[in-house]
């Protein structure tokens, strides 16, 4: 029994070839091959599905189909008290969990007006920049693997391991750490963290140099990346693309500089930009960001102020354990927070931050109860994915894979 073809299917499988139809020389209609790349494919970084129409080796049309890991996180978040949402929201873009938590906490802090202590802000910056390096490491490793340079994968994951060890030290978890809280961070960094971090900061730039030596002095890599699949700044802005992809096209838009949050204005760092916006620029921009992140962490670590690591406002942060035995107030606050959670006055907030992939915005509508009435994440991968078709039409299938790698989409973030 074959099910009837629905309108949806027809629409999904429709290909747009008007561009080519008026070219009588090609006469391609008979030589097209529709290839279904994904959802299970080694190079789609998750479960992205691309319906690709090929003419020989050349891609003529791309239709991305997403939703295979849609887990309804935004809906789930509406059922949970504000502080219980954090672990759920971290699992969206599973490579930049600190950023997810930061966008969400920042949004809640805007709504509640909680002051975040300076030390907590610096600790957040340290962890976010470590996370950025970690995310770029995964990107670099998997992209090189997609190009066929398999050793890079292990070299990059070695650095990633070190960062995950650091995360484990500070929060007890390697991924999805739930380290950021509304009003600060969960715990102060432990003894020995700084030493290990400084050691990492010392080795990381030299490691990044070595990655560059291996990739940028290689003629094959240069041929594969240079001049492939460029897209102009205007088109990228029209498509809503942000982050390293936009910076590769020459637009120095970075929310850390333009609209600093969490004390980013205290640090001295540069925004790497590209020139033409091809795959090589995309690679170079992200690679240069590794060094800048290291610089930011160094400055944050040097200037780490003393003080509390979470707000003293007991309405929003759990009181310290020892107070529970002595203070009635503390016990009440603890009970209130753990059972109901804190209430947030009615209002709406949109809090954008710069994630490794672009503008990550968290929109929260509060209806006055202890649960958010709407949580929406503007995930950069979700928006950036729209540029794939425009970048990759009329290129080789190998370039499609390379460009997909350079887009760095994380399907957990796209499908949420």
């Amino acid at each position: 029994m074959t099910p009837e073809v629905s309108d949806y299917r027809k629409q999904e499988e429709s290909i747009t070839l008007e561009r080519l139809d008026h070219d009588p020389a090609t006469g391609i209609s008979s030589d097209l091959l529709t290839l279904n790349i994904g959802p299970h494919h080694p190079a789609t970084h998750g479960v992205l599905r691309l319906i690709v129409t090929l003419e020989g080796e050349i891609v003529r049309d791309i239709k991305p189909v997403i939703g295979y890991v849609h887990t309804g996180i935004e809906k789930t978040a509406e059922q949970k008290a504000y502080w219980k949402v954090i672990p759920v929201i971290e699992r969206m873009d599973y490579l930049s969990y600190y950023f997810n938590a930061m966008a969400y906490c920042g949004s809640v802090e805007t709504l509640t007006g909680v002051e975040v202590p300076k030390r907590a802000q610096y600790l957040r910056v340290i962890h976010m920049e470590l996370n950025r390096i970690m995310s770029h490491m995964v990107w670099l490793g998997t992209s090189a693997l997609d190009l066929g340079a398999m050793s890079m994968f292990w070299y990059c994951f070695r650095e990633r391991e070190t960062i995950l060890d650091l995360f484990e030290m500070s929060s007890g978890q390697r991924m999805h750490t739930r380290y950021f809280q509304v009003g600060g961070v969960m715990e102060d960094i432990p003894l020995g963290f700084e030493k290990k971090l400084r050691q990492f900061l010392k080795t990381m730039p030299s490691r990044a140099d070595k990655f560059a030596d291996l990739l940028e002095n290689n003629e094959i890599v240069l041929q594969r990346l240079r001049g492939t699949c460029p897209l102009s700044e205007e088109r990228l802005l029209d498509l809503g693309v942000t982050g390293p992809l936009l910076r590769a096209a020459g637009n120095p838009w970075d929310l850390r500089k333009t609209a600093p949050y969490s004390s980013y204005e205290d640090f001295n760092f540069k925004i790497p930009v590209g020139t033409v916006g091809d795959n090589y620029d995309r690679y170079r921009v992200r690679h240069a960001e590794l060094y800048e992140s290291v610089k930011i962490i160094e400055q944050a670590l040097d200037g780490l102020p003393e003080g509390p690591y979470i707000t003293e406002d007991r309405k929003y942060a759990l009181p310290p354990r020892h107070e529970l035995a002595t203070s009635m107030e503390a016990l009440i606050h603890h009970f209130k927070l753990v059972t109901e959670g804190f209430r947030v006055a009615e209002g709406e907030a949109y809090y954008p931050i710069e994630s490794p992939r672009g503008e990550l915005g968290c929109f929260i509508r509060s209806d006055g109860s202890s649960k958010p009435a709407r949580v929406h994440m503007r995930d950069p991968s979700f928006v950036n994915l729209q540029a794939t078709a425009e970048m990759c039409t009329d290129t080789y299938i190998a370039d499609l894979i390379a460009t997909l790698a350079m887009l760095d989409p994380v399907l957990g973030g796209i499908d949420r």
């Binding site: 190009l147 050793s151 994968f153 070299y155 070695r158 299938i397």
Partner: protein
């Protein structure tokens, strides 16, 4: 009268030939697990990890475990595949690889217990052509396998392998013409003998050597020319739909091809069983010298795989036709001028 196409320089009694064939087949096939293990161990070291170290001491039993796993797998085929060709393709692949192994000379004729034995399967006077003939047939295995799978990924892989093998076979052949002119023979043993007097051919034929080696990488579908099976693009290319026995055959054929290409390079350019500096080679040590030199080249194959990314299809083609072919042609012409004058 039928003209004689080829002659055999020396042939032993029939029973020695059978024993020889069995020994070479067994040794050749035993080399594959070793190469597999060496590759995985070395890739591990290149990549800052251990490689297999669980099965047996230092993981030496890992290939055996792999083979048992592959051999006991269910043999399945897609509904859209063309059954007979689908099953025949891996066989073609491995038969041609084993057949090419027959002409690799592991040594000259030596006396064993008073019997003169040639340390090779067979030594036809057209050895190099024989190798190319089977190299040409080998690509039918890939192409038919990819086509008969009835899968689009396999089909694309098959198309790529067809284009790739044809374009690189030409450069490879032209690169060898220089050697043939210097040696004045197509027989592989005579080419080695010529190197005893003229010196190793890598010196006068360094350009040809490089072209031959690059084309050899492409012939064996190894990185950076592994486009027919490009795992990131085509999942597995022509082997996408194969599992169990079929996959094992393709897998073994690939590694056997690596060994054969290395061994032929050793024979043709690196003096075969000759030792450098004119040292005398004792008769029965010859196979070990050949295998030792072959291992060095296999190491090069593994090293390149760990380092280089994959080329794009059009870049692969332009490298073959626009760079390697002209270089090989000029090399041939220059050698011809040298030989004549």
């Amino acid at each position: 009268m039928t003209p004689i196409l080829a002659t055999v320089n020396y042939s032993e009694p029939w029973w020695i030939q059978i024993i020889k064939a069995l020994v070479i087949f067994a040794v050749g096939l035993q080399l594959i697990p070793l190469v597999l293990l060496a590759e995985r161990k070395m890739l591990g070291r290149f990549q800052g990890r251990y490689g297999p170290n669980r099965v047996g001491p230092f993981g030496v039993m890992q290939p055996l475990a792999d083979i048992i796993k592959l051999a006991t797998k269910e043999s399945f085929r897609p509904r859209t595949s063309v059954g007979f060709i689908f099953m025949a393709a891996p066989a073609i692949s491995i038969i041609t690889a084993v057949a090419t192994l027959a002409i690799v000379p592991f040594g000259n004729t030596v006396d064993i217990f008073g019997t003169k034995v040639g340390l090779y399967g067979v030594d036809p006077s057209i050895g190099i052509l024989y190798a190319f003939a089977f190299g040409g047939i080998a690509f039918y295995g890939l192409m038919l396998g990819g086509w008969a799978s009835g899968s689009k990924y396999s089909f694309l892989g098959a198309m790529r392998s067809a284009a790739q093998l044809i374009s690189y076979e030409i450069s490879q052949g032209l690169a060898l013409v220089g050697v043939v002119m210097l040696a004045g023979s197509l027989s592989l043993t005579e080419i080695v003998d010529a190197q005893a007097t003229q010196g190793w051919f890598i010196v006068p034929q360094i350009v040809g050597f490089v072209v031959f080696l690059v084309a050899g990488f492409a012939e064996t579908n190894r990185a950076p020319f592994d486009l027919p099976e490009a795992d990131a693009e085509l999942v597995g290319g022509y082997i996408t739909e194969y599992g169990g026995g079929g996959f094992t055959s393709f897998f073994f054929a690939e590694y056997l091809n690596v060994i054969v290409v290395s061994a032929i390079t050793v024979t043709v350019y690196l003096g075969g069983w000759l030792l450098p500096f004119g040292w005398h080679t004792p008769g029965l040590a010859m196979p070990f010298i050949v295998i030792g030199k072959t291992c060095l080249l296999i190491f090069l194959f593994i090293w390149v795989r760990a380092t280089l990314p994959r080329l794009r299809y059009d870049q692969l083609m332009s490298l073959g036709w626009k760079i390697l072919l002209p270089i090989a042609t000029i090399n041939t012409l220059a050698t011809a001028v040298m030989v004549v004058t």
